[in-house]
Point group: C2
Chain length 331, copies 2
DNA sequence: TTGAAAGCGCTAACAG
DNA sequence: CTGTTAGCGCTTTCAA
């Protein structure tokens, strides 16, 4: 690999001057500047990230930590971030926490070795202690999907999303309603939304589990549903809201195997609006993923380049996308 | 950030000794060794990648360059690689070529700055000249999905996959057959497979396009199909093989909009067996993605750690997964 | 406006 | 078995 010194010698200037024209850190006589540029092109000088990072104490690496890259929702996010980073001259170190808090902690520790310029993370626990390491090391962080009091972040208003679905179910005449998924913000919104409409959401109809990894999701969904069915003989609800679209697909799959028809016997709605829900015509709540990713990246850049330090929380409003799986009116 | 010297001082040894216990590069008296380890734990020493990489001239970074991370086929691959890398102490720099040769070239140049320990790439063009830079810089490369004469690689035998589908269509009695997608190896296998069964695959029924990015895929598929329909009034085939599952979904979508029923009016088969095809019950050819990714990573590790330099090409056999979209027999 | 020189934190001879 | 020392390629004072 050709280095600055090689360029310097060939351009008959000092290595410091080469550094200056590359980084624009101080004025260089246009002639020498051009000469250096020519030699750089001629020799195909590329630079050495390690050396640069070591002496400048900062890198052009952005760490991206996501809970489940196999979920299209997150791969779409990564896709947007990667391209933005590419266009602005950063590289992405990607890490997949797989819904595993222990792994996420390790990942955070590992990434510190690289002095990343910034971090984009969809944290499993927005208030986890190990996230504070970024604060201590003065590394800008923007959270995606979840908001943390310590960092800027961009998310969808999940609560509103839950409420939207509550209203949707209500408008279709459902009064016995179920839920399956993480008991998170959207669940809260859903529950409160139903309460405001005087529709009870019975605890025993809320099948909770905590999961991010799509690896064993099918098993998880199937065993949870089996267990539910074992306790009572049949479904005690006519509509079910699932934590996300993938869960919705699995639930529909489960119902299909059991001979339960969607939406004739039961209405199903998901959350996220990943591409594939449209093929299956699943009712869902759309998160503008690309916008979220873009806004998060943009915010991170402002923290990196302009040193903005105030904590900014963006909550984007989701919208309901009614499709076939909730087609049937009960009234 | 706490550094080796800090550890050395507190442990009352030289910095070199700390380096030795960390890297195990030479024997260290068990007592001193333990003392150093204790101090490392106490101080929470993490290390500095840039410094390590600069002085050792190698990094623990593995570059992963994929054509379309939004395609679940590739996100599954990334998921496997990331976890393997995590377990063996490497970090992933992820790059998305988006089916853009120009971008891929730039990515290859960019990654050289990091002296990656190795590269896993699903190249757009296996023989692209810029890939030789890895050879010049002595960086181990393993290709995924496509094989290159210059590097080791793991792929599915796409040709066999195409043949499998040819036989499948034939066994169902189809004689007028179409294709839509990249005119690649699986297309060749498909074509030859049909030829061997004395079924012609007319050129005008082969709708070719070159695409990797799922971004504008819908448009691409729809406009290609529209064009086809404009030229002749109706479909001149009873079964169509699509380049991959996502294309299959879009084609089915298109047919649905046109009121053409699948599989009643036309049979559709995809390729890849991404998770979502099972929900839609699309006939497809399964690529054992996780195995591919795992084998590629394993091979790369052997090149990195053991310096194996021979070129090894693994071709994994795909298998046909018949499902509902090709259910109907014509004979 | 430019060059010389001192590190950045670490690895890897080289002594002893 | 361990300490000393010389860089790795670059950024960044400090002078001139």
């Amino acid at each position: 690999m050709i280095k600055m010194k090689d360029v310097a010698i060939k351009a008959q200037v000092s290595q410091a001057t080469v550094s200056r024209v590359i980084n624009g850190t101080s004025y260089v006589e246009p002639e020498t500047r051009q000469k250096v540029l020519d030699v750089i092109a001629e020799l195909g000088y590329k630079g050495n990230s390690a050396a640069k990072s070591l002496s400048s104490k900062k890198s052009s690496i952005i760490a991206v930590i996501l809970p489940d890259i196999a979920n299209p929702y997150f791969s779409e996010i990564l896709s947007v971030i990667e391209d933005e980073a590419y266009q602005s001259g950063y590289e992405i170190i990607f890490m997949n926490s797989q819904g595993n808090n222990h792994k996420e902690k390790k990942l955070v520790e590992n990434i510190l070795k690289y002095s990343p310029a910034g971090v984009l993370i969809s944290p499993l626990d927005a208030n986890a202690n190990y996230l504070k390491k970024f604060l201590e090391n003065n590394i800008p962080v923007v959270t995606i999907t979840t908001l943390s009091k310590n960092f800027s972040g961009v998310s969808v208003d999940h609560k509103v999303g839950g409420e939207l679905l509550a209203k949707h179910f209500a408008s279709l005449g459902h009064v016995n309603i179920g839920y399956i998924g993480n008991k998170d913000e959207k669940f809260q919104g859903f529950k409160e939304g139903l309460q405001n409409l005087n529709i009870p959401l019975k605890d025993e109809n809320c099948i909770g589990f905590y999961n991010y990894s799509s690896g064993n999701l099918k098993e998880l969904v199937f065993s949870s549903m089996e267990e539910y069915l074992k306790e009572r003989k049949s479904l005690d609800f006519t509509a079910i809201f699932t934590g996300n679209d993938i869960v919705a697909m699995e639930v529909i799959n489960f119902f299909r195997e059991k001979g339960i028809k969607v939406p004739e016997d039961i209405a199903v709605a998901g959350f996220d609006n990943i591409t594939f829900t449209s093929y299956l015509s699943i009712t869902t709540v759309a998160q503008p993923v690309r916008e979220i990713a873009f806004l998060a990246y943009e915010r991170l850049m402002r923290e990196i380049k302009n040193g903005e330090k105030d904590i900014e929380h963006l909550k984007i409003l989701p919208r309901l996308i009614p499709r076939d799986t909730t087609l049937k009116k009960l009234i």
